[in-house]
């Protein structure tokens, strides 16, 4: 049975702060009390597969490292209507996905959750490295608390 709320972590833990969402979801899933009624998914770099995680949900919370022109470490809550994508796609390959386009597609197919919330976290560094920067590592607990608050609100 599918839970009505899903928390989706996007990113790659081999790319330094790009893996922040995965770390947050791992910390959240370690907290068993939170599991009831919520699915936590490490969606990695699954591309269009995201479409299927939206199906039959009332609410999706998407966490990702995001370039938002803010101070590194900033966490920002927003909804799809608050932003436009400035991502340039060549449409050459399945390997490039714009999450806002996936949401558009889900909407057109009638499978979009009623509520979608983004938590974007401004990275300090996106490079080949398996650990977060000290800055984001130090703020991990704070981010986890913010997502917990979103889930109980």
């Amino acid at each position: 049975m599918i839970n009505k709320t899903v928390v989706l972590a996007l990113g790659n833990p081999l790319m330094c702060d790009e893996g922040i969402a995965i770390e947050i979801v791992e910390a959240l899933t370690a907290d068993a009390g939170l599991l009831e009624g919520v699915d936590f998914i490490d969606a990695g770099c699954g591309g269009m597969t995201l479409l299927h995680y939206f199906e039959e949900r009332d609410k999706a919370i998407i966490i990702d490292c995001a370039f938002m022109e803010t101070e590194p470490g900033t966490i920002k809550r927003f909804v799809p209507d608050d932003v436009t994508s400035v991502k340039k796609l060549s449409h050459h390959s399945l390997h490039e996905v714009d999450i806002l386009n996936v949401i558009k597609l889900a909407d057109q197919m009638g499978s979009c959750p009623g509520e979608i919330v983004f938590y974007g976290i401004e990275p300090k560094s996106v490079e080949q490295q398996q650990n977060l920067t000290d800055l984001l590592q130090g703020k991990l607990g704070e981010y986890v608390e913010i997502i917990k608050q979103e889930l109980v609100s």
Binding site: L10, I41, C45, T49, D64, T84, S90, H92, V126
Partner: protein, 431 residues
């Protein structure tokens, strides 16, 4: 007819690299044709150095979100080769089934989300919904089942967690396999509906041919994705542990990605290569799909790679149904795996959806990785894309700049290059 052409398609920053297309012609004379790949190197080989043999697949599965199963499987095979680990028949079959799920996922997505919009004249899959809503719904439905299949076998849809050296950390329950088999049987009709939709617009695939060397795995009596030797359509066959002398990776000025060549200046890897080397072993349904499009062994039109992908999608559905029958007949049981690490070198190859994928690792006596070499199919295809470009431009340049650019972009899409999927889905501006 346009005599002057200036195409310069640039899409990327260094982090989010994809290819550039550059064509210059003056007074009807082609001056420059280049497929450039300014992708930043990703250093995965350095990342696995110093890591334990049983961590390798987890790390390399993150190289790619679309081909994560292929990377996991080829890594685990190379580790097992280095440690002289033999796996059971059950493990081999379950892994093959997992591998099929990724072929189905990737092929359906590629043809449905990237190629179909071109053929329908839509800029991407989002506006395609307005033009062909039923087709998009069908594509999404088959893709969903392929995802479920990955989840049952790999533990989750992307980046597998059940694969361990010597076997599986968790095998699927027989009831799950039965359910999966029913789902797969129900996909035959929608898959054929997708085939018919693509067939209805297949006239849009450019009639372009260039004599090409095709490289893929090959095994007697099998349309293989997972076992066998490395074969060229030119004749030579080599064992997998000699893959470095097949790829012959080399550096060129126009690309930060390495290029590959074997018996000629370039070769093609991917569905069309597999088809050209193994077509006689396709399943009946796969053959029927190829026949519908008139795809025959020896085809050297790279755009037909998309058709070969559809034939393979049908093949893997049919073969998966058979494989589940075999697994259920034998009974699926958890198997205990004991591995004692030892020093050694390991080589492996599997067919990722977009072509043959090679890994090589070296371990010390404690099973700590001392070195690695990975060669992805897209890198093997770059040189071939360049040579296709050089033949395509003179042939199609009288169609004008816009149509030529569209043709070249479709050509790149036909290869479905895997350039980089490691970085940010979100690059936004607040409104």
């Amino acid at each position: 007819m346009s005599k002057n052409i200036n195409i310069n398609v640039k899409h990327m920053t260094r982090i989010e690299g994809h290819g550039n297309i550059v064509v210059n012609a003056s007074e009807g004379k082609v001056e420059k044709v280049e497929w450039q790949v300014p992708e930043a190197p990703r250093f995965f080989e350095a990342m696995v150095r110093g890591r334990k043999y049983d961590d390798i697949q987890t790390i390399v599965s993150r190289i790619c979100g679309i081909c994560s199963i292929s990377h996991s499987l080829v890594a685990i095979k190379a580790v097992e080769d280095a440690m002289s680990i033999k796996v059971s028949e059950q493990t081999d079959k379950l892994r093959l089934l997992m591998h099929f799920s990724e072929q189905l996922q990737s092929h359906v997505l590629h043809v449905g989300y990237l190629v179909a919009p071109d053929l329908f004249g839509a800029p991407s899959v989002v506006p395609l919904v307005g033009v062909a809503p039923d087709a998009v719904k069908t594509i999404i439905g088959v893709h969903r089942v392929a995802n479920q299949m990955s989840e049952i076998l790999a533990g989750r849809v992307t980046h597998p967690i059940t694969v361990i050296p010597g076997g599986f950390s968790k095998v699927p329950e027989e009831a799950q396999l039965r359910q999966l088999q029913d789902l797969l049987k129900a996909q035959v009709e929608p898959l054929l509906a997708i085939v018919d939709v693509v067939l209805s617009v297949a006239a849009g695939l450019p009639a372009f041919e260039r004599d090409t060397e095709y490289v893929s795995l090959k095994r007697d009596g099998d349309y293989t994705f997972y076992h066998g030797d490395i074969a060229s359509s030119d004749g030579p066959v080599k064992p997998v542990n000699e893959w470095e002398s097949v790829a012959n990776e080399h550096v060129v000025a126009q690309s930060t990605a390495k290029w590959a060549k074997w018996n000629r200046k370039s070769y093609m890897a991917g569905a069309l290569a597999r088809f050209n080397n193994n077509a006689e072993h396709l399943s009946p349904l796969g053959k029927a799909v190829a026949d519908k499009f008139g795809l025959v062994k020896g085809c050297c039109n790279p755009f037909m790679n998309n058709v070969a992908q559809l034939a393979e999608a049908a093949h893997v559905v049919e073969k998966s149904i058979e494989l589940i029958d075999e697994l259920l007949a034998d009974g699926v049981k958890p198997e205990e795996v004991k591995v004692t690490p030892k020093a050694g070198k390991g080589y492996a190859a599997v067919e990722a959806p977009r072509g043959i994928l090679f890994h090589h690792y070296e371990f010390n006596k404690d099973g700590i990785c001392q070195g690695a070499n990975l060669c992805i199919p897209t890198n093997q295809n770059h040189a071939n894309i360049q040579l296709d470009f050089e033949a395509f431009v003179p042939q199609f340049m009288d169609q004008g700049e816009d149509r030529l650019r569209q043709g070249l972009e479709m050509l790149v899409r036909a290869y479905d290059p895997c350039v980089s999927c490691s970085t940010h889905f979100l690059d936004v501006q607040f409104v």
